[in-house]
């Protein structure tokens, strides 16, 4: 396509629509900036005029005038137009075109990941962000467009995990807490009063038992002696329990 074909289109358009303003504008704009590629836009316009009666040429003029306004080509304008139409299909949460779209029973459109995260943030008060109607996972309808080949329920997809929460450190004094989390996990329980504290069983997680000392060292002898003492004590205690 070139200037000649553009002229042809121009003439055709003038004849078809009988509306001069588009042509005037285009001609003026192209004189100012001959590199403008109006023929890229023109076929679309012609297609429209051929299918519409002259009474609807208003819309054609609009397209034309909006395209001749832009000095740097027609791209931003067509984008703007698309944007207007896309607004209707935007997710109410991320404000982007809805992906894995779902519709609530109250009729509001969301991306499933967005809505899921919204429902996750308030599990006990699940309301529609737009109209605050009660909604839940089972009360939304997935939308399947023509383009989606796989008719996969977006709700079955693993939703993105919730964002990590970072909290500001407490200002001022550094309270160390209740001793939880600063070492291994400790749990102990026992039966009996103070002197029989030997016989309490102790579970220590995360803190390994001390290694057995190597043979022959004085520490090994000591440990052996101690274990014997405790064994005797235990036996004595059991005997006492039985006899008493």
């Amino acid at each position: 396509m070139g200037w000649k074909s553009f002229q042809k289109i121009k003439n055709k358009l003038q004849w078809k629509v009988g509306h001069v303003s588009f042509v005037q504008r285009v001609t003026a704009a192209s004189k100012k900036n001959p590199s403008l590629e109006f023929w890229k836009l023109a076929p679309k316009t012609i297609y429209r005029t051929q299918n519409m009666s002259a009474s609807t040429s208003e819309e054609v003029r609009e397209t034309a005038s909006s395209s001749s306004r832009g000095d740097g080509g027609d791209k931003p304008n067509t984008k703007e137009e698309e944007k207007k139409e896309d607004n209707l299909l935007e997710c109410n949460i991320c404000l982007d075109t809805a992906k894995d779209a779902v519709v609530s029973l109250c009729g509001h459109l969301f991306c499933w990941p967005c809505l899921h995260q919204w429902l996750e943030t308030r599990p006990n008060r699940q309301v529609c962000p737009v109209c605050k109607a009660a909604i839940s996972r089972d009360k939304v309808v997935p939308l399947y467009g023509r383009g989606s080949t796989k008719q996969e329920d977006p709700r079955d997809k693993v939703p993105p995990r919730p964002a990590g929460q970072r909290t500001e450190p407490e200002p001022g004094n550094n309270f160390s807490g209740f001793g939880f989390g600063d070492g291994g996990f400790h749990m102990s329980f026992g039966i009996g009063a103070f002197p029989f504290g030997f016989f309490t069983s102790t579970f220590n997680f995360g803190e390994p038992r001390p290694n057995v000392s190597p043979h022959g060292t004085p520490q090994y002898m000591e440990e052996q002696f101690l274990s014997k003492v405790f064994l005797w004590l235990a036996m004595l205690f059991i005997a006492w329990l039985l006899l008493a």
Binding site: N92, C94, P160, A163, G164
Partner: protein
């Protein structure tokens, strides 16, 4: 410990990039990038929307490089004691935005029943009535409406709540507080 901290929390993109390289857990990195991206994308959209909006009584813009901190301005509603006054507000977006509300505070001192002396605002939509649908524009409009119609039943500033009905005195207090700035 490091894994629990989201590296993108209120940080500039440049700083985030350096933190991300330090992070070892690949999964955490991907997630953090994704989440941060979603928040910044939405904030960008809001900014675009605000800049093209014809409403002159409210405005907002990111405070410097950080997209997670904004400065907003509202003019007092017409036919109220706040008419012709301009108030600056700070917005502080959490990483979980828009699922949780931003922290909004008055920078300009404001004498009002529902605004305390340090600028905290008592507004239900910023607390329990928050919805992911709300954005900077709706927050600013709500606060603007709150200026004209305070809720004197649950005041943060008891003096302002008391004086609300005495217009002359109230106006004087509003002006003296405003002129502190």
């Amino acid at each position: 410990m490091a894994q629990n901290e989201n590296p993108l929390y209120e940080q500039q993109p440049t700083a985030a990039a350096t933190v991300l390289t330090v992070e070892k857990d690949g999964d955490t990195v991907a997630r953090a990038q994704n989440d941060g991206h979603a928040v910044t994308k939405r904030l960008h959209k809001e900014l675009m929307f605000l800049m093209t909006s014809p409403d002159k009584s409210i405005s907002a813009f990111p405070d410097g490089e950080n997209l997670f901190k904004w400065i907003g301005t509202i003019s007092g509603p017409q036919d109220s004691v706040y008419e012709s006054l301009k108030f600056k507000l700070s917005f502080h977006f959490p990483n979980s935005y828009p699922y949780t509300a931003p922290v909004v505070k008055f920078i300009t001192p404001c004498f009002h029943p529902n605004i305390d002396t340090s600028g905290n605002i008592c507004l239900d939509i910023l607390k329990d009535k928050w919805s992911a649908l709300y954005d900077v524009r709706t927050i600013l409009l709500s606060i603007q409406a709150l200026l004209g119609e305070p809720n004197v039943d649950s005041p943060l500033n008891a003096l302002a709540a008391m004086k609300w009905t005495k217009k002359e005195e109230y106006k004087k207090l509003v002006m003296s507080t405003y002129n502190q700035a």
